[in-house]
């Protein structure tokens, strides 16, 4: 059966390529390129509850999380919320190079669409689950700067909140200890964020048409984007890291972006992220994981801090990438053109890897190739939906 399935897939890809050729386009695809294109779908991916979070997928928890996401009582000074840096009107980012909480932080606000699909959270992967990542900025003195006790007291005093909390978590917020209460609130925040998802895109329509050999449907995808797609899966080698339906392999890489957060201060990237993860009592090996089997904790058990992790940052999803400028962990690149130029001219002397990393090399794209690649990236945007 497996062999038959593989054969059918090959035939579909071949038909798709033939259809492309039949349109007398400039785009011809190798077998590897066809395979890579098909690997970027189908989309969307089905929802699967997070076993570490008993609130995941619970409508009451999602509603609670949605209200908390916009609730300024989660900040020390009562003036900021999650949405301040993850604004739904800005594709759940803030359009700033680096976000501003109580202070300006070192990193760009990562877009939240499809966040439920992540393996690691944050630019350095300092969290291995979404509820721990949701809790972190509440306590970070540079971001919302609150404490578990402050948040618990404020929310417990609010009209009707205690009843909602009790409905979702089966306990009284006034009698829960501050830290478990904050973890519960973070699990509700995570349940809401799991609903934030990108809709289908022009690329998805093309990819599915390609899979079924539908030349008419394929012809609706702009030729410039097709050329850019070919660069993406071929010469650009982008698909090694920006892999699969969500256009990320969920891991980390050093792509030659500056690693100084400020003069004389280095952002350690993944190296520091692993250290923070392993020190955190909110990781999946800790007491707040609702999955007694800890079935999703293998990554945390096996992750290893390596010297090459210095200067590595998470490979972000490219879905809706055109809507989430500026780019890179420090927001140092303003436009998609800047990003493509970066990879076209990347300074390998800036790479920190000590193990012969050879994946990142200057692409030396022509002006037209760079424009094609940008056009392809623009076709990865779909309507962002979330529980309202």
């Amino acid at each position: 059966m497996r062999a038959l399935g593989a054969f059918a897939l090959f035939m579909l890809a071949a038909v798709g390529a033939a259809a492309l050729a039949g349109r007398s386009t400039a785009v011809s695809l190798s077998a590897a390129e066809r395979e890579a294109i098909l690997s970027h779908g189908p989309w969307p991916l089905p929802f699967a509850p997070d076993p570490s979070n008993r609130a995941s997928g619970d409508p009451a928890a999602i509603a609670l999380g949605r209200s908390l996401f916009f609730d300024t009582r989660l900040s020390r000074d009562g003036d900021r919320s999650c949405a301040s840096c993850h604004d739904p009107a800005k594709s759940f980012t803030d359009s700033r190079p680096r976000s501003i909480g109580i202070e300006r932080v070192d990193r760009n606000a990562i877009a939240l669409a499809n966040v439920r699909l992540n393996r690691w959270y944050g630019w350095s992967g300092a969290s291995d689950n979404l509820w721990a990542q949701s809790l972190r900025p509440i306590l970070d003195p540079r971001e919302l700067g609150a404490t578990a006790e402050l948040v618990r007291q404020r929310l417990a005093a609010g009209p009707g909140f205690a009843a909602t909390y009790a409905t979702v978590f089966g306990s009284e917020i006034a009698s829960d200890a501050p830290e478990p209460a904050l973890v519960n609130l973070s699990k509700a925040l995570a349940a809401f964020q799991e609903t934030i998802s990108s809709g289908r895109t022009a690329f998805d329509d093309f990819r599915d048409a390609f899979a079924r050999g539908d030349a008419a449907a394929m012809s609706r995808y702009p030729m410039q984007a097709q050329r850019g797609l070919r660069i993406f899966v071929g010469k650009g080698q982008c698909t090694f890291c920006h892999f699969g339906p969500n256009f990320t392999n969920g891991e980390f890489d050093d792509v030659g972006v500056r690693h100084f957060a400020a003069k004389g201060r280095v952002d350690r990237g993944r190296y520091g992220g692993i250290a923070a993860l392993q020190d955190s009592r909110f990781n999946l090996l800790g007491p707040y994981n609702d999955d007694a089997q800890k079935g999703t904790a293998a990554k945390t058990s096996h992750v290893e801090q390596l010297h090459r992790n210095w200067g590595e940052f998470r490979v972000p999803s490219l879905r809706n990438v055109a809507d989430t400028a500026p780019y890179m962990h420090d927001g140092s690149l303003q436009t998609l053109q800047d990003v493509v130029r970066h990879y076209s001219e990347v300074d390998v002397e800036r790479l920190h890897g000590d193990d012969g990393q050879r994946l990142i090399r200057p692409l030396r794209l022509s002006a037209s190739e760079a424009a094609d690649l940008v056009e392809f990236l623009r076709t990865l945007s779909g309507e962002i939906a979330y529980s309202k």
């Binding site: 497996r2 399935g5 593989a6 395979e35 890579a36 098909l38 690997s39 991916l45 393996r119 698909t239 090694f240 890291c241 892999f243 699969g244 339906p245 392999n249 969920g250 891991e251 980390f252 293998a298 990554k299 058990s301 096996h302 992750v303 290893e304 390596l306 090459r308 890897g353 193990d355 012969g356 990393q357 050879r358 994946l359």
Partner: protein, 137 residues
């Protein structure tokens, strides 16, 4: 999610696939035999299909080694020679019974050509067998 298949397309110069040894686990149990002039193992990947970014385990049975000392450990690792990097995770080994090991926590995070290495530790001896595989997207 894309399904992926492993194409076991070549062994390293030091290794050579051989027919199943009677002392070893059979191919019909899903084991693949891997041998060099110095040693032979049988291994079985513990995943229905290997996928990019999916954790998997490998079961290793030692079939033949030089001398009489028992193999005390089997270390399994993987590298992408073309990219110059290995895995991001450190596998852990457990001995199921003498000469029979399970190594878990392996994850191949990119499509492409990977080289898996099986290092057998026997007394002071260190024997390496390698297997190349093409992890498709």
């Amino acid at each position: 999610m894309r399904f992926l298949t492993i194409a076991l397309f070549a062994l390293s110069a030091a290794a050579l696939a051989v027919p199943s040894a009677s002392a070893c686990r059979a191919a019909n149990e899903g084991f693949v035999h891997l041998a060099s002039p110095e040693a032979e193992i049988a291994y079985r990947l513990q995943a229905d299909q290997l996928k990019v970014g999916q954790f998997f385990a490998v079961e290793v049975v030692v079939c033949r080694t030089p001398g009489t000392d028992a193999v005390r450990a089997v270390l399994v690792d993987a590298q992408m020679p073309a990219h110059g990097h290995g895995m991001n995770y450190r596998p852990t080994m457990t001995e199921i019974e003498p000469g029979h090991f399970r190594v878990s926590g392996l994850m191949l995070h990119m499509p492409g050509k990977w080289r898996m290495t099986f290092d057998l530790l026997q007394g002071d001896r260190h024997i390496r067998l390698t297997q190349e595989m093409n992890l498709k997207p």
